[in-house]
Amino acid sequence: MKNWFMLTLVGKDRAGIVAKISAVLYQENCNLGEASMTRLGGNFTIMLMIQFDGLMRDLDRILQPVCDSLTLHYHVNPIEGELHHHREPDVRISVHGADKAGIVADVTRALASAGLDILNLESDVAGTSENPLYIMNIEGVAVKGITALNDALQALDCGSDVEVHLSEIDILRG
């Protein structure tokens, strides 16, 4: 098998989606690669690498019935399926505090200008509807070094109700 595709699925969450989708793909001779599934605001979301010998329209034929039955929206893109070359992060930035507009833009602009290459970003809105709490975790590579990121964060003013933590990731190889 040589062709890789990225399948994106979005819809109302329910138990058993991953099992049903992966069973159909397996029956149709698809090989699965890396995947990331999470609930965002109660919605089911997954991005899933699929290795498949056929064409996009063949994947449509496979996916349409099962996605219709689960009321999921799907989207497929042809991709380069590069495996076994994970880049490892050397820094982690955690942001948490009051949920207010502009936190992501402010923090990521400062970090990007100081040379952060983001590898992974996850955020949640927790707390209550009256008092929403925003939590974001970023992992990345400090292309210009950790000091540059430290300086950029020190110059950043997110307000007294938002905290930004930076920690180096020192991978232990044993």
């Binding site: 109700d161 905290e163 232990l172 044993g174």
Partner: protein, 177 residues
């Protein structure tokens, strides 16, 4: 002594999942093996520890040396035979990788401070009090002796806070944050 770089077993090789036996025979053959084990650790890029089962020898021997890392408390080069953790405290999450698990790293919770009893390569009983990165390395390698990989201890990457520095400018003093 001529030392050799040994072949590393790579998971899912099931031999990595077996429990290793205590060393009972201390001879030249063991000394030569320890030298080769250390050579193999140093040949791996960034390797700070190795356990005998990683090279297919199922005896309780580990080598750890984190002295190459800057600003980290360490005991230098450590050979530990039949190591046992006597005391442990604290809990800290850190990122680990393994020569036996290529192209993957993950977050693992370990004891922050440990006291380890072990025999050194000269069969002298030793007690080491260690913390942080070095303690993590010893726990990672000791896990190999019990057939455990860091994959068996992964904690979610999501939601782990391990804060060190806080960047917060008090702007509205008196207001609750």
């Amino acid at each position: 002594m001529i030392m050799a770089v040994l072949e590393i077993l790579v998971y899912p090789d099931q031999r990595l999942k077996q429990k290793s036996k205590p060393v009972e025979v201390f001879n030249d053959s063991l000394s030569r093996f320890i030298a080769d084990l250390e050579e193999t650790m140093r040949a791996g890029p960034g390797g700070v520890g190795i356990a005998a089962p990683q090279v297919g020898c199922f005896e309780r021997v580990i080598v750890v040396d984190v002295s190459c890392k800057p600003r980290i408390k360490n005991h230098g080069r450590l050979v530990m035979v039949n190591p046992e953790i006597a005391e442990k405290e604290g809990n800290v999450v850190g990122r680990e990788g393994c020569m036996s698990v290529p192209d993957y790293t993950g977050n693992v919770a370990r004891w922050d401070r440990i006291v380890v009893n072990a025999l050194d390569e000269f069969v002298h009983p030793q007690t080491y009090v260690m913390e942080g990165y070095e303690a993590r390395a010893v726990q990672h390698e000791m896990d190999h002796l019990d057939g455990l990989l860091f994959l068996d201890r992964l904690v979610s990457r999501r939601g782990n806070l391990f804060p060190r520095k806080v960047y917060k400018k008090p702007r509205n003093a008196g207001r609750d944050g």
